[in-house]
């Protein structure tokens, strides 16, 4: 005779990979079978758009730092570009190049953090994370030179940037630029091919290009992914094309496609 069961609703969490208390799942079980899952979130919602309503355009830059504090430069950039588009302003060319350099540095530091924490969560406690943070620190040092802040930079302004980089910024940038490729080789030798990393990541959470069959995804999943022969990231990077046309030796915009060790080349600013 079959055992009579009835569904039970249990709260999983509040748990989140990075912080406690911001996210929980309301799960309906029948025995060990999950019947339904409902995410409950919003505890960390800061109402940035509402805060922005009562501030000036320049003040809002500080709010954009906090949208994602590991990529504050990039968030600054997209905000000031929107303001400039609305106001019909064009930033000076020098400022535009400085912005791209900063956004790229922020991107590298974000990737370093993601890679470090991925390995941390896979069980390689602290060591690879510290390797990643070692280089990330040097990028944050550069940000500190630019504006005095390391995380919440507020460096960009509608119409330009806060100030011109100091003289010692450029040699420091060149040194990082020279060091990063060998650093990525080192990091890659730790990760790519590692049996545990492969066992825990390969074929996990694959997403089909055939959207109608796997439709519950939104943009970030695809931001930097190379999907079967697609030659560029779906998110447009303004100025990237200007950059390559002005400096023919600079990496082409297609380097944004991240495929295994090709990602090393991304690091060359």
């Amino acid at each position: 005779m079959a055992v009579k069961t009835e569904p039970v609703t249990i709260n999983l969490g509040p748990q989140h990979p990075s912080t406690h208390g911001v996210f929980r799942l309301r799960v309906k079980f029948d025995g060990e079978v999950v019947l339904d899952v409902e995410p409950v979130f919003g505890y960390l919602h800061r109402g940035t758009e509402k805060l922005a309503e009562s501030r000036t355009y320049v003040q809002i830059v500080t709010l954009t730092d906090r949208l994602d504090y590991t990529a504050s430069m990039s968030n600054n950039l997209s905000y000031v570009l929107a303001v400039e588009k609305l106001a019909g302003i064009e930033a000076p060319e020098r400022a535009q190049y400085i912005r791209v350099i900063c956004a790229e540095l922020a991107r590298i530091s974000s990737h370093l953090m993601a890679t470090g924490f991925l390995l941390n969560d896979l069980g390689a406690f602290a060591t690879p994370l510290m390797y990643c943070f070692r280089e990330r620190e040097r990028i944050l040092d550069l940000f500190e030179m630019l504006c005095g802040a390391r995380i919440t930079v507020s460096y960009m302004r509608p119409g330009g940037v806060l100030q011109d980089p100091p003289d010692d910024f450029w040699p420091a940038l060149t040194r990082i630029n020279d060091d990063l490729p060998q650093y990525f080789d080192e990091l890659e030798s730790l990760i790519t091919g590692n049996e545990i990393v492969l066992a825990r990541t390969r074929d996990v959470g694959t997403i089909s290009l055939n959207m109608p069959s796997t439709p519950r995804y939104l943009a970030p999943y695809f931001g930097q992914q190379a999907c079967n022969g697609m030659s560029a990231a779906p998110i447009p990077m303004r100025y990237m094309t200007d950059w390559t046309s002005t400096y023919p030796s600079a990496p082409s915009a297609t380097h944004l496609t991240v495929t295994s060790c090709a990602s090393r080349k991304c690091a060359r600013v």
Binding site: E53, A219, A232
Partner: protein
């Protein structure tokens, strides 16, 4: 880089398939009638040339005289994008068709729009608040919502 299709071109194709649904366009955006959101979405998703199988984001803007729904669409196969917009007039008991049957990714974002902007999506299977609690007075991202 993802190529933005011309709004004029996309508007023409929408009107060829569903006459008089695309009412306005500029370089990158197409404005459609709110009542036609679902049929135009189905067309954009299923048309073999346009192939907009991916809804990047759906959001809403309060322009006080009207609300504007904004759909950012991407074709992963063609590496192209387009922005579809729709003006919803009025302040009370607003509604628009849900596109969840076309792009399931719209699920939480349509709920967020209902929660914060107060536009109800018809045909959404779970149309309830997502960030705020049930019973919260008003929709806080409206311009006339003051602390």
């Amino acid at each position: 880089m993802t190529r933005a299709l011309s709004g004029e071109d996309v508007a023409r194709r929408i009107n060829e398939a569903h006459p008089d649904t695309a009412i306005h366009n500029n370089d990158t955006d197409v404005w459609i009638r709110p009542a036609a959101i679902l049929e135009v979405s189905e067309f954009l998703n299923s048309d073999p040339d346009l192939n907009f199988s991916f809804l990047n984001a759906v959001t809403a803007v309060d322009y006080v005289e009207y609300f504007e729904l904004v759909y950012h669409l991407v074709s992963m196969q063609n590496n192209t994008s387009v922005v579809i917009k729709s003006k919803v007039f009025g302040r009370e008991e607003l509604s628009a068709p849900s596109v969840i049957s076309v792009w399931q990714g719209a699920d939480l974002q349509e709920r967020e729009i209902w929660d914060l902007m107060g536009i109800h999506f018809e045909g959404h299977p779970n149309m309830k608040r997502v960030l705020l609690w049930e019973g919260f007075p008003g929709h806080p991202l409206r311009k006339d919502f003051l602390e």
